[in-house]
Protein backbone atom coordinates (compact mmCIF):
# COMPACT_ATOMS: atom_id res chain seq x y z
CA UNK A 1 0.00 0.00 0.00
CA UNK A 2 1.33 3.43 -0.90
CA UNK A 3 1.97 6.19 1.61
CA UNK A 4 -1.06 8.45 2.08
CA UNK A 5 -0.66 12.00 0.77
CA UNK A 6 -3.14 13.41 3.25
CA UNK A 7 -3.65 11.68 6.57
CA UNK A 8 -5.54 12.94 9.61
CA UNK A 9 -5.60 11.30 13.02
CA UNK A 10 -8.39 12.30 15.39
CA UNK A 11 -8.20 15.83 14.00
CA UNK A 12 -10.43 18.18 16.01
CA UNK A 13 -11.16 21.88 16.12
CA UNK A 14 -13.32 23.60 18.70
CA UNK A 15 -14.59 27.18 18.78
CA UNK A 16 -15.81 27.70 22.32
CA UNK A 17 -18.69 25.25 22.80
CA UNK A 18 -18.93 24.32 19.14
CA UNK A 19 -16.85 21.36 17.95
CA UNK A 20 -16.52 22.19 14.27
CA UNK A 21 -14.42 19.14 13.46
CA UNK A 22 -14.68 16.17 15.80
CA UNK A 23 -12.09 13.36 15.73
CA UNK A 24 -11.75 13.25 11.97
CA UNK A 25 -9.57 10.34 10.82
CA UNK A 26 -9.15 9.90 7.06
CA UNK A 27 -6.37 9.13 4.64
CA UNK A 28 -6.07 10.06 0.98
CA UNK A 29 -3.90 8.23 -1.53
CA UNK A 30 -1.75 9.81 -4.21
CA UNK A 31 -3.67 10.78 -7.35
CA UNK A 32 -7.09 10.61 -5.73
CA UNK A 33 -9.81 13.20 -6.10
CA UNK A 34 -11.13 13.07 -2.57
CA UNK A 35 -14.39 14.77 -1.74
CA UNK A 36 -15.45 15.98 1.67
CA UNK A 37 -19.23 16.16 1.61
CA UNK A 38 -21.63 17.58 4.07
CA UNK A 39 -24.35 20.11 4.67
CA UNK A 40 -23.39 23.73 5.40
CA UNK A 41 -21.78 23.96 8.82
CA UNK A 42 -20.69 20.31 8.86
CA UNK A 43 -17.05 21.35 9.37
CA UNK A 44 -15.74 20.91 5.83
CA UNK A 45 -14.20 24.36 5.56
CA UNK A 46 -12.72 24.12 9.05
CA UNK A 47 -11.13 20.79 8.08
CA UNK A 48 -9.62 22.25 4.92
CA UNK A 49 -8.38 25.32 6.82
CA UNK A 50 -6.53 23.05 9.23
CA UNK A 51 -4.99 21.02 6.42
CA UNK A 52 -3.80 24.19 4.67
CA UNK A 53 -2.30 25.41 8.01
CA UNK A 54 -4.64 28.39 8.29
CA UNK A 55 -6.13 27.08 11.53
CA UNK A 56 -4.38 25.17 14.29
CA UNK A 57 -6.14 22.00 15.36
CA UNK A 58 -7.35 21.96 18.96
CA UNK A 59 -6.26 18.33 19.16
CA UNK A 60 -5.20 15.52 16.87
CA UNK A 61 -2.65 15.55 14.08
CA UNK A 62 -2.51 15.53 10.32
CA UNK A 63 0.14 15.24 7.67
CA UNK A 64 0.12 16.56 4.14
CA UNK A 65 2.66 15.18 1.65
CA UNK A 66 4.54 13.76 4.63
CA UNK A 67 4.77 17.03 6.57
CA UNK A 68 3.05 17.65 9.88
CA UNK A 69 0.54 20.50 9.66
CA UNK A 70 1.44 21.66 13.16
CA UNK A 71 5.21 21.24 13.28
CA UNK A 72 6.15 21.69 9.63
CA UNK A 73 3.58 24.25 8.48
CA UNK A 74 5.98 26.14 6.16
CA UNK A 75 6.79 22.89 4.35
CA UNK A 76 3.11 22.04 4.01
CA UNK A 77 2.54 25.48 2.47
CA UNK A 78 5.31 24.90 -0.11
CA UNK A 79 3.82 21.69 -1.49
CA UNK A 80 0.11 22.47 -1.44
CA UNK A 81 -2.21 24.72 -3.42
CA UNK A 82 -5.39 26.22 -2.01
CA UNK A 83 -8.46 27.80 -3.56
CA UNK A 84 -10.69 29.24 -0.81
CA UNK A 85 -14.44 29.20 -1.14
CA UNK A 86 -14.58 32.97 -1.33
CA UNK A 87 -13.05 34.99 -4.16
CA UNK A 88 -9.30 34.97 -3.88
CA UNK A 89 -8.21 36.63 -7.12
CA UNK A 90 -7.68 40.38 -6.81
CA UNK A 91 -10.17 42.23 -9.00
CA UNK A 92 -8.02 45.35 -9.15
CA UNK A 93 -5.15 43.49 -10.85
CA UNK A 94 -5.00 41.78 -14.24
CA UNK A 95 -5.15 38.00 -14.53
CA UNK A 96 -1.49 37.95 -15.50
CA UNK A 97 -0.49 40.04 -12.48
CA UNK A 98 -2.52 37.84 -10.14
CA UNK A 99 -0.64 34.80 -11.41
CA UNK A 100 2.79 36.46 -11.34
CA UNK A 101 2.41 37.45 -7.68
CA UNK A 102 1.72 33.88 -6.65
CA UNK A 103 4.47 32.48 -8.88
CA UNK A 104 6.83 34.72 -6.91
CA UNK A 105 5.37 33.94 -3.49
CA UNK A 106 5.56 30.19 -4.21
CA UNK A 107 9.23 30.46 -5.27
CA UNK A 108 8.74 29.43 -8.89
CA UNK A 109 12.24 29.93 -10.38
CA UNK A 110 12.55 33.26 -12.17
CA UNK A 111 13.49 31.63 -15.48
CA UNK A 112 10.28 29.57 -15.55
CA UNK A 113 7.79 32.09 -14.20
CA UNK A 114 6.66 33.69 -17.45
CA UNK A 115 6.34 30.38 -19.22
CA UNK A 116 4.34 28.76 -16.43
CA UNK A 117 2.01 31.73 -16.20
CA UNK A 118 1.40 31.65 -19.97
CA UNK A 119 0.90 27.89 -19.91
CA UNK A 120 -1.54 28.24 -17.03
CA UNK A 121 -3.56 30.88 -18.85
CA UNK A 122 -3.63 28.68 -21.96
CA UNK A 123 -4.59 25.58 -19.96
CA UNK A 124 -7.65 27.34 -18.59
CA UNK A 125 -8.51 29.09 -21.87
CA UNK A 126 -7.75 32.53 -20.48
CA UNK A 127 -5.04 33.64 -22.96
CA UNK A 128 -7.07 36.55 -24.28
CA UNK A 129 -8.11 37.72 -20.83
CA UNK A 130 -4.63 37.74 -19.27
CA UNK A 131 -4.14 41.49 -19.55
CA UNK A 132 -7.65 42.47 -18.48
CA UNK A 133 -8.53 43.44 -14.92
CA UNK A 134 -10.04 40.48 -13.07
CA UNK A 135 -13.07 42.55 -12.04
CA UNK A 136 -14.20 42.34 -15.68
CA UNK A 137 -14.10 38.50 -15.60
CA UNK A 138 -17.14 36.22 -15.36
CA UNK A 139 -17.56 33.95 -12.34
CA UNK A 140 -16.30 30.91 -14.20
CA UNK A 141 -13.24 32.77 -15.48
CA UNK A 142 -12.39 33.93 -11.96
CA UNK A 143 -12.56 30.37 -10.63
CA UNK A 144 -10.39 29.09 -13.48
CA UNK A 145 -7.86 31.82 -12.81
CA UNK A 146 -7.84 30.97 -9.11
CA UNK A 147 -7.14 27.33 -9.86
CA UNK A 148 -4.21 28.30 -12.11
CA UNK A 149 -3.00 30.60 -9.34
CA UNK A 150 -2.79 27.69 -6.94
CA UNK A 151 -1.09 25.15 -9.22
CA UNK A 152 1.71 27.32 -10.68
CA UNK A 153 4.20 25.74 -8.28
CA UNK A 154 3.04 22.20 -9.17
CA UNK A 155 1.66 21.33 -5.74
CA UNK A 156 1.41 17.73 -4.65
CA UNK A 157 -2.01 18.34 -3.16
CA UNK A 158 -4.57 20.86 -4.35
CA UNK A 159 -7.22 21.89 -1.83
CA UNK A 160 -10.43 23.27 -3.31
CA UNK A 161 -13.12 24.60 -0.99
CA UNK A 162 -16.50 24.47 -2.77
CA UNK A 163 -14.89 25.03 -6.20
CA UNK A 164 -18.12 25.42 -8.16
CA UNK A 165 -20.38 27.20 -5.67
CA UNK A 166 -22.38 29.91 -7.42
CA UNK A 167 -21.38 28.89 -10.95
CA UNK A 168 -23.81 28.18 -13.77
CA UNK A 169 -23.94 24.59 -15.10
CA UNK A 170 -21.67 25.30 -18.08
CA UNK A 171 -18.98 26.99 -16.02
CA UNK A 172 -19.27 24.20 -13.46
CA UNK A 173 -18.73 21.56 -16.12
CA UNK A 174 -15.64 23.40 -17.39
CA UNK A 175 -14.17 23.44 -13.88
CA UNK A 176 -14.83 19.70 -13.48
CA UNK A 177 -13.06 18.96 -16.76
CA UNK A 178 -10.07 21.05 -15.76
CA UNK A 179 -9.79 19.35 -12.37
CA UNK A 180 -9.89 15.94 -14.04
CA UNK A 181 -7.23 17.05 -16.52
CA UNK A 182 -4.97 18.29 -13.74
CA UNK A 183 -5.17 14.92 -12.09
CA UNK A 184 -4.65 13.00 -15.33
CA UNK A 185 -1.75 15.10 -16.64
CA UNK A 186 0.18 15.88 -13.48
CA UNK A 187 -1.04 13.29 -11.04
CA UNK A 188 -2.03 16.07 -8.63
CA UNK A 189 -3.97 14.80 -5.65
CA UNK A 190 -7.14 16.84 -5.28
CA UNK A 191 -8.94 17.33 -1.98
CA UNK A 192 -12.20 19.19 -2.34
CA UNK A 193 -15.27 20.04 -0.33
CA UNK A 194 -18.72 20.25 -1.79
CA UNK A 195 -22.36 19.94 -0.92
CA UNK A 196 -23.26 19.15 -4.52
CA UNK A 197 -23.85 15.45 -4.95
CA UNK A 198 -23.51 15.57 -8.71
CA UNK A 199 -20.07 17.10 -8.31
CA UNK A 200 -18.95 14.35 -5.97
CA UNK A 201 -20.40 11.66 -8.22
CA UNK A 202 -18.67 12.95 -11.35
CA UNK A 203 -15.30 13.90 -9.93
CA UNK A 204 -14.41 12.00 -6.82
CA UNK A 205 -12.67 8.67 -6.50
CA UNK A 206 -13.75 8.54 -2.86
CA UNK A 207 -15.94 10.66 -0.65
CA UNK A 208 -16.24 11.23 3.06
CA UNK A 209 -19.56 12.49 4.38
CA UNK A 210 -19.30 14.80 7.37
CA UNK A 211 -22.13 15.55 9.75
CA UNK A 212 -21.85 17.77 12.84
CA UNK A 213 -18.06 17.70 12.48
CA UNK A 214 -17.92 13.91 12.57
CA UNK A 215 -17.16 11.43 9.83
CA UNK A 216 -20.50 9.82 8.95
CA UNK A 217 -19.53 7.65 5.97
CA UNK A 218 -16.51 6.97 3.77
CA UNK A 219 -16.10 5.13 0.47
CA UNK A 220 -16.32 5.33 -3.31
CA UNK A 221 -19.55 6.84 -4.61
CA UNK A 222 -20.61 3.32 -5.72
CA UNK A 223 -19.86 1.77 -2.32
CA UNK A 224 -21.81 4.47 -0.54
CA UNK A 225 -24.81 4.04 -2.81
CA UNK A 226 -24.72 0.29 -2.18
CA UNK A 227 -24.27 0.78 1.58
CA UNK A 228 -27.75 2.18 2.20
CA UNK A 229 -29.34 -0.97 0.76
CA UNK A 230 -31.63 0.87 -1.57
CA UNK A 231 -31.69 -0.32 -5.17
CA UNK A 232 -30.88 2.52 -7.58
CA UNK A 233 -29.89 4.98 -4.83
CA UNK A 234 -28.28 8.25 -5.85
CA UNK A 235 -25.64 10.12 -3.88
CA UNK A 236 -28.43 12.46 -2.84
CA UNK A 237 -30.11 9.56 -1.07
CA UNK A 238 -26.81 8.65 0.53
CA UNK A 239 -26.40 12.22 1.70
CA UNK A 240 -29.84 12.39 3.26
CA UNK A 241 -29.29 8.98 4.85
CA UNK A 242 -26.04 9.98 6.55
CA UNK A 243 -26.47 13.72 7.10
CA UNK A 244 -30.04 13.33 8.29
CA UNK A 245 -32.35 16.26 8.66
CA UNK A 246 -30.89 19.18 6.78
CA UNK A 247 -32.60 21.94 8.70
CA UNK A 248 -31.44 20.70 12.05
CA UNK A 249 -27.93 20.14 10.78
CA UNK A 250 -27.55 23.71 9.61
CA UNK A 251 -27.49 25.05 13.15
CA UNK A 252 -23.72 25.60 13.10
CA UNK A 253 -23.73 28.12 10.26
CA UNK A 254 -23.01 31.63 11.41
CA UNK A 255 -24.56 34.76 10.03
CA UNK A 256 -21.19 35.89 8.78
CA UNK A 257 -20.51 32.62 6.97
CA UNK A 258 -23.87 32.74 5.24
CA UNK A 259 -23.32 36.35 4.27
CA UNK A 260 -19.96 35.51 2.77
CA UNK A 261 -21.29 32.52 0.85
CA UNK A 262 -24.11 34.62 -0.54
CA UNK A 263 -21.78 37.44 -1.44
CA UNK A 264 -19.37 35.08 -3.15
CA UNK A 265 -22.24 33.52 -5.01
CA UNK A 266 -23.50 36.89 -6.09
CA UNK A 267 -20.11 38.07 -7.28
CA UNK A 268 -19.31 34.87 -9.08
CA UNK A 269 -22.71 34.53 -10.70
Amino acid sequence: MSIPVVETIALSCRYGDLTAVDNLTISVERGEVFGLLGPNGAGKTTAIKMLTTLLRPTSGEASVAGFSITRQAPDVRRVTGYVPQMISADGTLTGYENLMVFAKLYDVPRAERKQRVQEGLAFMGLEDAGNKLVRTYSGGMIRRLEIVQSVLHRPRVLFLDEPTVGLDPLARKAIWEHISELRAERGTTVFLTTHMMEEADRLCTRVAIMHHGKLAALGTPAELKASIGNEGATLDDVFVHYAGDRLESESGVSYRETRQTRRTTKRLG
Binding site: I3, E7, I9, A10, N23, T25, K49, T52, T53, L54, L55, P57, S59, G60, E61, A62, S63, G66, F67, S68, T70, R71, Q72, P74, D75, R77, R78, T80, Y82, V83, P84, Q85, M86, I87, S88, A89, D90, T92, L93, T94, E97, V101, F102, K104, L105, Y106, D107, L133, Q149, S150, Q260, R263, T264
Partner: protein, 282 residues
Protein backbone atom coordinates in the same frame (compact mmCIF):
# COMPACT_ATOMS: atom_id res chain seq x y z
CA UNK B 1 -7.95 4.26 16.82
CA UNK B 2 -6.03 5.87 19.67
CA UNK B 3 -6.19 9.65 19.41
CA UNK B 4 -2.76 11.26 19.04
CA UNK B 5 -1.96 13.93 21.57
CA UNK B 6 -0.47 17.23 20.55
CA UNK B 7 3.30 17.37 20.85
CA UNK B 8 3.51 13.60 20.68
CA UNK B 9 5.21 12.09 17.66
CA UNK B 10 2.25 11.01 15.55
CA UNK B 11 2.27 7.77 13.62
CA UNK B 12 1.78 9.94 10.57
CA UNK B 13 5.26 9.83 9.10
CA UNK B 14 6.90 13.19 8.61
CA UNK B 15 10.03 13.34 6.53
CA UNK B 16 12.64 15.92 7.39
CA UNK B 17 12.42 19.09 5.30
CA UNK B 18 14.68 18.63 2.29
CA UNK B 19 16.91 21.67 2.38
CA UNK B 20 17.95 23.43 5.57
CA UNK B 21 17.94 27.04 4.47
CA UNK B 22 21.03 29.02 5.36
CA UNK B 23 20.24 32.29 7.09
CA UNK B 24 21.42 34.46 4.20
CA UNK B 25 19.06 33.03 1.60
CA UNK B 26 16.28 32.97 4.18
CA UNK B 27 16.75 36.72 4.76
CA UNK B 28 16.97 37.31 1.03
CA UNK B 29 13.75 35.42 0.44
CA UNK B 30 12.06 37.31 3.27
CA UNK B 31 13.00 40.67 1.72
CA UNK B 32 12.03 39.50 -1.76
CA UNK B 33 8.57 38.44 -0.64
CA UNK B 34 8.15 41.66 1.31
CA UNK B 35 8.93 43.55 -1.90
CA UNK B 36 6.42 41.45 -3.87
CA UNK B 37 3.67 42.31 -1.39
CA UNK B 38 4.61 46.00 -1.31
CA UNK B 39 4.83 46.08 -5.11
CA UNK B 40 1.25 44.81 -5.40
CA UNK B 41 -0.14 48.06 -4.10
CA UNK B 42 1.98 50.13 -6.42
CA UNK B 43 0.45 48.20 -9.33
CA UNK B 44 -3.05 48.77 -8.04
CA UNK B 45 -2.37 52.52 -7.85
CA UNK B 46 -1.21 52.46 -11.45
CA UNK B 47 -4.46 50.81 -12.53
CA UNK B 48 -6.59 53.26 -10.58
CA UNK B 49 -4.97 56.52 -9.48
CA UNK B 50 -8.26 58.17 -8.36
CA UNK B 51 -7.22 57.64 -4.75
CA UNK B 52 -4.11 59.78 -5.24
CA UNK B 53 -6.12 62.69 -6.57
CA UNK B 54 -8.59 62.55 -3.68
CA UNK B 55 -5.77 62.44 -1.17
CA UNK B 56 -4.28 65.60 -2.57
CA UNK B 57 -7.18 67.75 -1.40
CA UNK B 58 -6.40 67.79 2.30
CA UNK B 59 -2.80 69.04 2.25
CA UNK B 60 -3.81 71.73 -0.23
CA UNK B 61 -6.46 73.00 2.19
CA UNK B 62 -4.17 72.90 5.21
CA UNK B 63 -1.33 74.72 3.51
CA UNK B 64 -3.24 77.22 1.39
CA UNK B 65 -6.10 78.04 3.75
CA UNK B 66 -5.09 77.22 7.32
CA UNK B 67 -1.41 78.03 6.72
CA UNK B 68 -2.02 81.36 5.03
CA UNK B 69 -4.51 82.54 7.64
CA UNK B 70 -2.40 81.57 10.66
CA UNK B 71 0.75 82.98 9.04
CA UNK B 72 -1.07 86.25 8.56
CA UNK B 73 -2.31 86.52 12.14
CA UNK B 74 0.99 85.31 13.67
CA UNK B 75 -0.74 83.63 16.62
CA UNK B 76 1.44 80.53 16.63
CA UNK B 77 5.10 81.12 17.48
CA UNK B 78 7.35 79.32 15.03
CA UNK B 79 10.79 80.45 16.18
CA UNK B 80 13.13 81.72 13.49
CA UNK B 81 11.01 80.21 10.71
CA UNK B 82 8.12 81.89 8.89
CA UNK B 83 4.95 79.99 9.92
CA UNK B 84 4.40 78.55 6.42
CA UNK B 85 7.91 77.10 6.50
CA UNK B 86 7.22 75.69 9.96
CA UNK B 87 3.92 74.22 8.81
CA UNK B 88 4.95 72.58 5.51
CA UNK B 89 6.89 69.62 7.03
CA UNK B 90 4.10 69.20 9.59
CA UNK B 91 1.46 68.93 6.89
CA UNK B 92 3.62 66.50 4.94
CA UNK B 93 3.83 64.28 8.03
CA UNK B 94 0.12 64.68 8.66
CA UNK B 95 -0.91 63.69 5.15
CA UNK B 96 1.31 60.62 5.39
CA UNK B 97 -0.33 59.76 8.73
CA UNK B 98 -3.82 60.08 7.27
CA UNK B 99 -2.97 57.75 4.40
CA UNK B 100 -1.26 55.24 6.65
CA UNK B 101 -3.84 55.07 9.43
CA UNK B 102 -6.54 53.89 7.01
CA UNK B 103 -4.36 51.49 5.04
CA UNK B 104 -5.54 48.54 7.14
CA UNK B 105 -8.83 48.87 5.30
CA UNK B 106 -7.38 46.92 2.39
CA UNK B 107 -6.77 43.98 4.72
CA UNK B 108 -10.40 43.99 5.85
CA UNK B 109 -11.43 44.05 2.23
CA UNK B 110 -9.11 41.13 1.40
CA UNK B 111 -10.47 39.25 4.40
CA UNK B 112 -14.09 39.69 3.33
CA UNK B 113 -13.12 38.10 0.05
CA UNK B 114 -10.73 35.15 0.32
CA UNK B 115 -7.54 36.89 -0.75
CA UNK B 116 -5.87 36.97 2.64
CA UNK B 117 -6.55 33.24 3.06
CA UNK B 118 -4.64 32.54 -0.08
CA UNK B 119 -1.69 34.66 1.03
CA UNK B 120 -1.60 32.89 4.38
CA UNK B 121 -1.71 29.46 2.73
CA UNK B 122 1.34 30.37 0.62
CA UNK B 123 4.90 29.96 1.91
CA UNK B 124 5.18 33.66 2.73
CA UNK B 125 6.39 34.53 6.24
CA UNK B 126 3.66 36.32 8.20
CA UNK B 127 6.06 39.10 9.08
CA UNK B 128 6.82 39.60 5.38
CA UNK B 129 3.09 39.97 4.71
CA UNK B 130 2.86 42.59 7.46
CA UNK B 131 6.03 44.45 6.46
CA UNK B 132 5.06 44.37 2.79
CA UNK B 133 1.69 45.91 3.55
CA UNK B 134 3.29 48.47 5.86
CA UNK B 135 5.76 49.52 3.17
CA UNK B 136 3.00 49.77 0.60
CA UNK B 137 1.59 52.49 2.86
CA UNK B 138 4.94 54.20 2.24
CA UNK B 139 4.60 53.73 -1.50
CA UNK B 140 1.24 55.48 -1.41
CA UNK B 141 2.69 58.30 0.67
CA UNK B 142 5.43 59.21 -1.83
CA UNK B 143 3.17 61.05 -4.30
CA UNK B 144 1.97 63.17 -1.34
CA UNK B 145 5.56 64.09 -0.74
CA UNK B 146 5.91 65.44 -4.28
CA UNK B 147 2.64 67.36 -3.92
CA UNK B 148 3.62 69.02 -0.64
CA UNK B 149 7.02 70.00 -2.10
CA UNK B 150 5.30 71.64 -5.07
CA UNK B 151 2.88 73.53 -2.79
CA UNK B 152 5.78 74.56 -0.56
CA UNK B 153 7.71 75.97 -3.52
CA UNK B 154 4.64 77.92 -4.66
CA UNK B 155 4.22 79.36 -1.15
CA UNK B 156 7.87 80.44 -1.07
CA UNK B 157 9.09 77.95 1.54
CA UNK B 158 12.89 77.77 1.51
CA UNK B 159 13.52 74.13 0.58
CA UNK B 160 16.78 72.29 1.17
CA UNK B 161 17.52 70.69 -2.22
CA UNK B 162 20.63 68.85 -1.04
CA UNK B 163 20.23 65.28 -2.40
CA UNK B 164 21.21 63.80 0.95
CA UNK B 165 18.51 65.82 2.70
CA UNK B 166 15.96 64.66 0.11
CA UNK B 167 16.94 61.03 0.66
CA UNK B 168 16.58 61.64 4.39
CA UNK B 169 13.09 63.08 3.89
CA UNK B 170 12.03 60.08 1.78
CA UNK B 171 13.39 57.66 4.35
CA UNK B 172 11.60 59.41 7.20
CA UNK B 173 8.33 59.37 5.25
CA UNK B 174 8.70 55.71 4.34
CA UNK B 175 9.39 54.82 7.98
CA UNK B 176 6.60 56.99 9.35
CA UNK B 177 4.12 55.57 6.85
CA UNK B 178 5.27 52.02 7.57
CA UNK B 179 4.95 52.43 11.34
CA UNK B 180 1.45 53.90 11.16
CA UNK B 181 0.35 51.48 8.41
CA UNK B 182 1.44 48.54 10.55
CA UNK B 183 -0.44 50.10 13.48
CA UNK B 184 -3.46 50.31 11.20
CA UNK B 185 -3.03 46.64 10.27
CA UNK B 186 -3.04 45.74 13.95
CA UNK B 187 -6.34 47.56 14.44
CA UNK B 188 -7.79 45.88 11.33
CA UNK B 189 -6.72 42.47 12.61
CA UNK B 190 -8.30 43.15 16.00
CA UNK B 191 -11.64 44.70 15.01
CA UNK B 192 -12.19 42.84 11.71
CA UNK B 193 -15.20 44.80 10.43
CA UNK B 194 -14.97 47.89 8.26
CA UNK B 195 -17.51 49.87 10.31
CA UNK B 196 -15.59 49.47 13.56
CA UNK B 197 -12.30 50.00 11.75
CA UNK B 198 -13.40 53.29 10.21
CA UNK B 199 -14.71 54.44 13.58
CA UNK B 200 -11.50 53.69 15.41
CA UNK B 201 -9.44 55.18 12.58
CA UNK B 202 -11.37 58.45 12.82
CA UNK B 203 -10.99 58.53 16.59
CA UNK B 204 -7.22 57.94 16.46
CA UNK B 205 -6.07 60.28 13.69
CA UNK B 206 -6.81 63.55 15.44
CA UNK B 207 -5.08 62.69 18.74
CA UNK B 208 -1.94 61.61 16.86
CA UNK B 209 -2.09 64.81 14.84
CA UNK B 210 -2.80 67.28 17.66
CA UNK B 211 -0.46 65.60 20.14
CA UNK B 212 2.48 66.23 17.83
CA UNK B 213 4.47 69.23 16.71
CA UNK B 214 2.84 69.20 13.26
CA UNK B 215 1.03 72.55 13.42
CA UNK B 216 2.40 74.15 16.60
CA UNK B 217 5.62 73.78 18.58
CA UNK B 218 5.70 71.50 21.62
CA UNK B 219 6.89 74.43 23.72
CA UNK B 220 3.43 76.04 23.75
CA UNK B 221 1.66 72.83 24.82
CA UNK B 222 0.38 72.26 28.38
CA UNK B 223 2.61 69.89 30.34
CA UNK B 224 0.35 66.83 30.10
CA UNK B 225 0.20 67.17 26.33
CA UNK B 226 3.98 67.58 26.16
CA UNK B 227 4.35 64.17 27.76
CA UNK B 228 2.03 62.57 25.21
CA UNK B 229 3.70 64.38 22.33
CA UNK B 230 7.07 62.97 23.39
CA UNK B 231 5.68 59.45 23.13
CA UNK B 232 4.13 60.06 19.72
CA UNK B 233 6.16 58.79 16.73
CA UNK B 234 4.61 61.51 14.58
CA UNK B 235 6.48 64.13 16.63
CA UNK B 236 9.78 62.54 15.64
CA UNK B 237 8.75 62.27 12.01
CA UNK B 238 7.85 65.97 11.98
CA UNK B 239 11.12 66.82 13.71
CA UNK B 240 13.09 64.92 11.04
CA UNK B 241 11.20 66.57 8.22
CA UNK B 242 11.63 70.04 9.71
CA UNK B 243 15.38 69.48 9.90
CA UNK B 244 15.81 67.99 6.45
CA UNK B 245 13.15 69.58 4.28
CA UNK B 246 13.89 73.24 5.12
CA UNK B 247 17.01 75.07 4.24
CA UNK B 248 18.50 76.01 7.62
CA UNK B 249 16.07 73.72 9.43
CA UNK B 250 17.12 72.23 12.75
CA UNK B 251 16.12 69.17 14.72
CA UNK B 252 15.11 69.56 18.35
CA UNK B 253 15.79 65.95 19.33
CA UNK B 254 18.71 65.15 17.02
CA UNK B 255 18.32 63.08 13.87
CA UNK B 256 19.79 59.97 15.49
CA UNK B 257 17.00 59.86 18.07
CA UNK B 258 14.38 60.77 15.43
CA UNK B 259 15.33 57.94 13.10
CA UNK B 260 15.87 55.62 16.05
CA UNK B 261 12.31 56.17 17.25
CA UNK B 262 10.88 55.75 13.73
CA UNK B 263 12.81 52.53 13.07
CA UNK B 264 11.91 51.11 16.49
CA UNK B 265 8.22 51.99 16.08
CA UNK B 266 8.16 50.34 12.65
CA UNK B 267 9.84 47.16 13.88
CA UNK B 268 7.59 46.82 16.94
CA UNK B 269 4.39 47.46 14.98
CA UNK B 270 5.36 45.10 12.14
CA UNK B 271 6.27 42.32 14.56
CA UNK B 272 2.94 42.65 16.38
CA UNK B 273 1.02 42.77 13.07
CA UNK B 274 2.90 39.68 11.86
CA UNK B 275 1.95 37.81 15.03
CA UNK B 276 -1.70 38.77 14.63
CA UNK B 277 -1.87 38.12 10.87
CA UNK B 278 -3.19 34.55 11.13
CA UNK B 279 -6.26 35.98 12.92
CA UNK B 280 -7.40 37.26 9.54
CA UNK B 281 -8.81 33.83 8.63
CA UNK B 282 -11.10 33.40 11.64
Amino acid sequence: MRPAKLGEQPSVSAEKPKQRKNPFTAAQRFLYKTAVIAGLDARKLRHDPTELVMRAVQPVLWLLVFGQVIAHTRIIPSGDLPYIDFLAPGILAQSVLFIAIFSGMSLIWERDLGIVHKFLASPTPRTALALGKALSGGVRALPQCILVYILAVILGVKIDWNPLALVGVLTAILLGAAAFSAFSLIIALLVKTRERFMGIGQVLTMPFFFASSAIYPISIMPDWLKVIAHGNPLTYEVDTLRALMLSGGTSSFGLALDFGVLVAATIVMVLIAGRLYPRAVT
